[in-house]
Point group: C2
């Protein structure tokens, strides 16, 4: 749904959008300047490259992702001054970028100049098409919001260059997928089929082992198995998810049901066996990759923030393609427990990885320090590889687009937030405005009010997601006539000739609950987690008495159910002191002694809030007594 059709008006995500607009965008811009990554484009114009170049080979893409975020944010703004201000920043940054574009549309500060490697001489690691992908996505954002502009024109010239260079005669693909989804989006935004065809070529070419066999194996960049033959997502998580998103677009636009079914199958296998309870994907630190089935260590969870962004992109496309609520369920889980977790309350520091178990309290990073990406004890202002902050910024700016969709017979609401939706539920029926009222996720009641109805007597269907996390508990729907009925997880439909003032209320069970892992998840055997609505909770050492450590916690799920206490949750628990041994493996019959001390109750906090109160140990999975 376009940003002119949906807006978040407050609540959990409203706050985050405000912080993103007020702090994160400027913070990213500041660091891009400071790190010299915007400067690279200026140096390209003055001929100071390669000597003056700063940053990694993919640093151009961060500028493009910020551009995309600026474009979405400007479109979202209702304050004219603020909108103009954002557009001015965007135009200035666009001009910097566009000035470096070469006559044939090529644009990259790392390749092609005297003293640099030639263009496309390193398809494995060069990231040239990856960078174009992000440029094109920024351009698409501009086409969809302002209709035209310098970003869009630069992106189209780049896309034309890509089509001219990588047509049917050139078997090359990029080591980092992203161009596929971008070209497919550009085809939709412009109506030009050649971009879709180029996206299709890139999708079909992958998996035929044209990229080099690196130490991580060709599965790292999904060049091991053709996309339509794969059974599960594998290799580098962000690469796998961007590729799957692009393949979904290609499948939908070309009517390739086999390809769509393949991606659905891969998504299902990945969610059933390779996804953290937070929605985080990509377990391994070594190569930022998915592990084998059920390899989901809590303490070494990589769960890169960008993989969360990419997972949302993929699930959104599958949701639109199929209407299945499972895709919106995973989007919700990932939004609340990866995206919301990654950014600090002030919007100026970030997690790159999102561990589920912090064993040692870290130290506060200096505010001007570039942090290696895998550090994760506290959020950091910027990273040497800093893909995540701009990725979250663009996601938050465009978030209202994920709230709802329209189809031939109505409006589907997928995510719950205080919001305003204006759309035509049935072609020709005229525009309807709906407002959503809720304190979700802390309150399970969502009220949808029809503020402006369609043409009198026009019947249409309002669909709402009943989240999978409801499980076997009771959820209720209250129809406009006051009828209450229980609803099950999935999608609930209300077909009605809605009139202004009609209300539909969804009541979801919002009490917290214990959750247990599949027994094949060895890393968290004998543990439970606590969830409340879509939120995952965690224990943080700052909530323990006497500088306790989360390693000492034992919870007792049999004693009492978890109960809400404001935004926190309390559970019955004990603390156990550990005795150090010379050797940590003892005969089973002389078991490791434990002398638990009962706590009145242990406070758990929403996972997304962790590490906002200084260095601490933290764990999501809590061993049981």
């Amino acid at each position: 749904m376009g940003l002119s059709e949906a807006a978040i008006t407050g609540g959990f995500w409203g706050t985050r959008q405000q912080v993103n607009a007020a702090a994160t965008l400027a913070h990213c811009h500041h660091w891009l300047e400071r790190a010299g990554w915007t400067g690279n484009f200026r140096h390209a114009v003055t001929g100071a490259l390669p000597e003056a170049r700063q940053g990694r080979e993919f640093s151009d893409s961060e500028v493009y992702k910020l551009l995309e975020a600026l474009v979405w944010e400007a479109a979202r703004q209702t304050d004219a001054d603020r909108k103009a201000e954002l557009e001015a920043v965007c135009d200035q940054l666009s001009a910097t970028v566009a000035a470096a574009q070469e006559a044939d549309g090529y644009l990259n500060t790392q390749f092609g100049r005297h003293g640099q490697q030639p263009r496309y001489s390193d398809m494995e690691w060069g990231h040239e098409l990856y960078c174009f992908g992000h440029l094109i996505q920024a351009g698409v954002a501009q086409l969809r919001t302002r209709g035209d502009g310098l970003v869009a024109r630069t992106a189209i010239r780049a896309a034309d260059h890509v089509c001219a260079t990588f047509g049917a005669d050139n078997p090359a693909i990029c080591g980092h997928p992203e161009i596929e989804v971008a070209l497919a989006e550009l085809a939709r935004a412009t109506g030009e089929p050649r971009y879709l065809e180029q996206a299709r070529l890139f999708v079909e070419r992958r998996g035929h082992r044209t990229l080099a066999d690196i130490e991580f194996g060709r599965q790292y960049y999904q060049d091991d198995v053709p996309v339509r033959d794969a059974e599960v997502l594998r290799g580098h998580a962000v690469r796998a998810l961007y590729l799957a998103a692009g393949a979904t677009d290609v499948a939908v636009e070309t009517g390739d049901t086999e390809l769509l079914a393949a991606i659905e199958r891969q998504w299902e296998a990945t969610v059933a066996r390779r996804t953290y309870i937070t929605g985080g994907m990509g377990a391994h630190h070594r190569d930022e990759s998915f592990g084998e089935d059920f390899v989901l260590p809590a303490d070494r969870a990589y769960a890169e923030t960008c993989a969360g962004v990419a997972s949302i992109m993929l699930s959104w496309r599958l949701l639109l393609a199929t209407g299945k609520s499972q895709y919106a369920d995973l989007m919700e889980r990932t939004l609340y427990n990866v995206i919301a977790a990654s950014t600090a309350e002030d919007g100026r520091s970030f997690f790159y990885t999102n561990t589920l178990h912090q064993r040692t309290a870290g130290t506060v990073p200096a505010s001007d320090e570039l942090i290696p990406r895998a550090e994760s004890s506290l959020r950091a202002p910027w990273f040497a590889v800093s893909c995540c902050p701009t990725n979250v910024a663009r996601t938050l700016a465009v978030l209202p687009a994920y709230l709802a969709s329209t189809s031939a017979d109505g409006i589907q609401i997928h995510q719950y937030a205080p919001a305003r939706i204006e759309a035509e539920p049935v072609p020709g029926a005229g525009r309807v405005t709906l407002s959503l009222h809720t304190d979700y996720p802390y309150d399970g009641r969502i009220r949808v009010v029809v503020d402006t109805a369609a043409a009198p007597g026009q019947v249409w269907t309002l669909s709402m997601r009943v989240p999978d996390w409801v499980g076997s508990r009771t959820a209720w729907l209250v129809e406009p006539d006051g009828t209450r009925r229980t609803v099950r997880p999935g999608t609930v439909h209300v077909e009605h000739a809605f009139t202004s003032g009609d209300e539909i209320v969804l009541e979801l069970p919002d009490s917290p609950r214990f959750v247990a892992p599949d027994p094949r998840l060895d890393a968290v055997r004998g543990c439970v987690a606590v969830e409340r609505g879509p939120l995952v909770y965690c224990a943080e050492s700052v909530d323990l008495p006497d500088d306790g450590d989360v390693a000492e916690i034992l919870v007792d799920p049999q004693a009492s159910p978890p109960r809400s206490d404001g935004h926190t949750v309390r559970v019955a628990a004990a603390l156990v002191g550990h005795t150090d041994a010379d050797w940590p493996f003892e005969p089973e019959d002389s078991a490791h002694s434990r002398q638990p001390t009962t706590l009145g109750g242990l406070t758990l906090v929403p996972y997304y809030t962790w590490a906002n109160r200084g260095p601490a140990t933290m764990r999501v999975w809590l061993p049981t007594i």
Copy 2:
């Protein structure tokens, strides 16, 4: 103890020494030729470098480690023809190496020529001093066995070059420790204090942040904290252990008790919290490094074979320095469960990493394929980074040296194997010969016979290790006069005027036992392992009915103790079928259904034998019912 003083005469390690001599040495030599790593030295002479160079920057070191193995093996051989044959291979290979040495003693096929990087221009990754370290260790082996030879002379020239280049005015250290331990050994073997002083300089310089701050952090190469200030081993495991071994040598030779105490403290913290039950060290795949305390995932255990070799080198030095049996205990555990596991029965394929949990049965590697090092489903004939095969080869060849030691008042036996030991227990008392008779590790009875006594009436002390794995069970010592007494883990001493024919018998409890992990070892919570003597056992899917998977196993330690069945062990167990869910995290009260099928009993095999029967799933840690 020198190889002229101790010999293994059969049994578990006798077999492995024979296979090493008959198969592994030639196998390594073949692959070094085939991979072009020996050819690099020839190309250095003909001027074909750098174009013709093959292999990684540290490939020279593999040739040196093979040389060291050949030297030890030749010394060990009692068959004159075989000894001459090995010496001839060694001399030929030495000549190839020595021919490439430059006038000032420098020797490296990767650096310093036209078209190559200058000498010592990449201290972080160049491995030049690391390579010298292995050359010098080979030279020391020759000094200690033949007294002189081309390897020794080449090594001494190299060592002199290192001393001339890296003296007090040059603050540089090598990114990979190894030169430290090598120079200290050379100082002992030659009596030249300048080599010790250079080793001391290298040890003291490390930890002062002179190497670059790489993505893995300076702890990767232990340049984060000075050696004497560190609390625990950290960073790249092989680097950390080689450095600690060198620091121990320096501490002992210079009387630096503070430094020795620091290494002891680091060893103890590492063994208590960062070591696998197998003795394996280094949990992380990402950088082959130690993890934080208690991060010991079974399925992602890296536990590099070379870290096992390095751990044995360190513990041996600490054992000699302190006499504490804990060091011999860890050596034993590592020998049986890392070193013995890494090499296939035929001595021609190897594990680089030693996982404790194989989730998917792998495929048989082609016999002529270079395998990435971290693959671990089946042993591979060679690796692109192939440090482990030659490291194991040199360790097996010199293994008798680790059996026993002498001190001022007697002989200390540290490891148990059928063996012959000839040594002077007390200065001036004349040589004693002892024979050890045992089927260890499958039989706990060890009989030591005094074949040749010392001077009549000469009292001396025979010390024997009572392994820590005995725990609280009863072990017996039978003295020469037939007196039986119970003994506790540690060291038992028999002070006696031994005469020829005297026997001392140690009887250790050799029944298998269940072992439980410290509760902080989250990765194996709710599991037990099975040990028997120093051997760790595992379940392998080939022993399950109907192509079972080890993921289905639940053991019942309460039902009955494990019992021996030949070399295997049987435990009470059930198989449980798993039901796939769309999402692997369910409400705790609707728990994941399990319908166990009782097995008559589950067969476990010694961990070192796994993967000898084709692709299989395997696990050491077994979930309990």
